[in-house]
Amino acid sequence: MAAVIEGKGGFRAWLNKRMPVDQFMEDQLTGYYAPKNFNIWYFFGSLALLVFVMQILTGIFVTMHFKPGEATAWNSVQYMVREVPYMWLIQPMHAVGASFFFIVVYLHMARAFLYGSYKAPRELLWVIGMLIYLALMAEAFMGYVLPNGNMSYWGAQVIINLFGTIPGIGPSLVEWIRGDYGIGDATLTRFFSLHVVALPFVIALLVMLHLVALRQVGSNNPDGIEIKEKLGADGKPVDGIPFHPYYTLKDIVGVGLFLTLFAIVVFFVPTFGGLFMEAPNFEPANPVSTPEHIAPVWYFTPYYAILRAVPDQKMGALLMAISVLAFLFVPWLDRAKNKSLRYRGLASKFLVGMFFVTFLVLMWLGLKPADGIYVLLARIFTTLYFLFFLLLPFVSKADGNGPVPERVTYHAH
C-alpha cells in the first residue's frame, strides 16, 4: 500500500491515506489477472451488472410516478407513459430491461455449462449466482404484478396459490402472503415495498458476494484449466492479463452491441410480439374475468411447462420447485475431471446440448395452451429435463477425463 502512495503528493495522497482508493483499484482491476482466452460468452457477466444498474436507474424514475395499490396502480402507469415527459421511454426501458436481464443471465449460466465454470473451486461462486437468479425471479415476478393489469392479477393468483399446495400450512400461508382473502391493496403495497426496497438490497449484496468469491478463485476460461498453476517470473499467471485495461475495453464493445439491441427493442418492438409485455396486461385487473389463456412472461415458462405437465397439483408444484433448485447441485453432480466441454467426450457434449434444447422447448411449451399435443410434448421434455440431472453424474464421470492442454489455446488477433 505504501508503494502506491509513495511519490505522490497532493489530494490523491491525502485521499489514499484515509481511504485505500488506489489499492482497491489495483486489487480489483489493474492487478486482477484474468485468462487471456476469453471469448464472446464472457460478455454476459459484466452485461448482467450493467442491466442491474439500468434497472435501478430506470426503477428510481418509474417509482417517482407510480402509485401502488388496487385503485391507483394501473392508472398511474397509464398516466406516466401518456402524460409525463419521456416516461413513454423510461417506463418501457424498465419493463423491457427485465426481459433483457433474464436473456443475459441465461446466457451467463449457459456459459458455465459449456466450460464447467461451476466446478471446484468455483462451487460457491455458482451457488451465489443461483441465489441471485432466485432473488431475480422474485423481483421480476413482483414487478410484473405491480401495474395491476389483468395478466398481473391472474399471474399473481396462480403463482401465490402455488404456496397453497404446501401440506398443512398452505392455505394460511397464502392468506398471509396476500394479506387479504384475495389479491388486494395489501398484496400490491407489500410487493411494492419488496420490489423497490428489500429485494434490490438483497440482490446488490449477493452481487457483491459473487464478485468477492470470483476474486478469490479467479475466472474460469473456455479451456477450463487453471491459469494460476502456470506463473511467470513476476509471480503473475503467464496466461493472464490485467482485467483493466484489457477486459474493461473488450467489455465496452459488448456494452455497445448490447445497448444497440436494447434500444432497437425499446423503440421499435417493446412488447416483442407479446413476449416481453403480454396483451392481457394492457387492460386493468379484472377479478371476474380470467384471460382465456394464462401464461407467465417467457423467462418463467420452462418451469411453468413442467408445472402443467404433471396431472397432479401437488406433484406438479413439487417438480417445478425441484426443477429450479436442481441447478444448485450441478457442481456436485458433474463428476468430470476436466471442466470445459472442449475436453470432454461426445456424450457430454450431446447431454448439455440436449439440455439447452429441452430448456428452450419447455420455454415455448409454457407459452402454449395446455391441451392436445402440447401436453404430451411437455411431458416428454419434462422427462428429458430431469434426465439431464440424473445422467450428468454418470456421463461426466465416464467421458470427462481426457488430456487437457498445458496452456490456454489463444490466437492473437
Partner: protein, 208 residues
Amino acid sequence: MSDHAADDTVPEVDESRRKFLIAATAGTGAVGAVLTAVPFLASWKPSESARAAGLPTEIDLSKMEPGQMTTHIWRKKQIYVVKRTPEMLASLSGHDGDLKDPESAESAQPAYAKNKTRALKDDVLVLIGTCTHLGCLPKTRFTPGDTTIAANWPGGFFCPCHGSKFDLAGRVFEGSPASLNLEVPPYSFAGDNKLIVGVDAAPEQGAA
C-alpha cells in the same frame, strides 16, 4: 491497567462461567430476535377492515330461472350459484368412475354438503368459483355432449387456464391438473329464496 499487569494474583479465567455467560447472552438475544420478528410477520395478516369485508353475504334466489347460474363475491372469491334442473341433477349419475374424488372424501365442503349433489338443497348448487388447481375461474360449459371439452361430456365447468374439468356438482374429472373438487363455501338458507354465504347451516337444516 499497568497495576493489574504487574499483579500476579489475577485469577485464572473461569472457562465454564464464561461459556455459561456466552450461552445465556446468545440465547436471550436469540429469543429476543424471534419475539421481535413476531410483529413484523404478523403485520402481513389481513387487516381489520379486510376481515370485516369478509363478513357473510346475502343472495336472493327468487329471480333465478332453472338452469341459470349467477356469480357473486364473498371474501374476494367468486361464488357460483346454479339453480339445477332435474336433467342437470340426473347428469350427476353415471360417471363416478371418471372422477378423481366422486364421494368428495378428500375435497373441502361443509359436512351438510358432503352428499351426492354436494348441496343443502339438491337444486341449489353453491360453489367457490376458484379452480382448485391454481385459482383461475372455471368457465360454464353446461351443454351436455360438448365435444370440444370431451366425448360424452355431461355438462359442467371447464378451467381455461390448465384444462381442469368439473361436473355439475363441481366434482373434478380424471385427467385434470386439479386434484380436488371445487370447494363449497359455508352457507345456509334464511327462508326459501334467501341464501346466506359465510354462515354455516344449522345442524337441523343440514339434516333436511
